[in-house]
């Protein structure tokens, strides 16, 4: 069975500082992993996805994530937060359906 755990429900960072949103997955086989972002009143937008190619995946808006099989993790990072990054972030593992984490709300303090 597939599942993801997002370790933080809320993360708050200052503008210009690094962002780390943590995700651990459980999968009975080699997983496909995604990060989606949801801005207020918008749809879920794909940030990046991992599908067993390079373990470091680069996405849009300067985000990247590293797949670590030994740690069953797929943490999302960004070197420098921007005000526009404030949103809800979802980690997803794909199996016979998409399995979502509970989401992490990112606040960026000016």
């Amino acid at each position: 069975a597939q599942s993801v755990t997002q370790l933080d429900s809320h993360v708050s960072v200052s503008e210009g500082t690094p962002v780390l949103l943590r995700c651990n997955y459980s999968s009975s086989y080699s997983p496909s992993l995604f990060w989606y972002v949801q801005h207020p009143n918008k749809g879920l937008q794909l940030l990046l996805k991992y599908t067993s190619a390079a373990t470091l995946v680069k996405g849009i808006n300067g985000f990247e994530a590293e797949f670590k099989k030994s740690e069953t993790s797929f943490h999302l990072t960004k070197p420098s937060a921007h005000m526009s990054d404030a949103a809800e972030y979802f980690c997803v593992v794909a199996g016979n359906q998409f399995y979502f984490g509970t989401g992490t709300s990112l606040t960026v303090i000016p």
Partner: protein, 116 residues
């Protein structure tokens, strides 16, 4: 850039009433999905749809739910007799090719349903 759209953005209904949530998937996509998110809980898969048939459904998707592609553009979710516990955000999604774990799904903004 093409987007999945959903209407209405908000829907308030009385318990026992029927509601229809509408979605317009991206035009060249062939696979369609509905998910829901009860407030404070995870986004949950409801159903997938391809070639005018349900491909897969979750245990949540019981007989009160149905899906339909009534024309070439719309994809609808009908809840026949709403219950209080159906209050949630409902997301529609679509994907280009075969439903596989590698295929990206594109999501709409959601319809927030409130059942009173």
């Amino acid at each position: 850039e093409p987007e999945v759209t959903q209407t209405p953005s908000h829907q308030v209904t009385q318990m026992g009433q029927e509601v229809i949530l509408r979605c317009v998937p991206i035009s060249n996509h062939l696979y369609f999905y509905w998910y829901r998110q009860i407030l404070g809980q995870k986004v949950e898969f409801l159903v997938s749809f391809y070639n005018n048939e349900i491909s897969e459904k979750s245990e949540i998707f019981d007989d009160q739910f149905s899906v339909e592609r009534p024309d070439g553009s719309n994809f609808t979710l009908k809840i026949r007799s709403t219950k209080l516990e159906d209050s949630a955000m409902y997301f529609c999604a679509s994907s280009v090719k075969s439903w596989s774990s590698y295929e990206t799904q594109y999501f709409g903004p959601g319809t927030r349903l409130l059942v009173l």
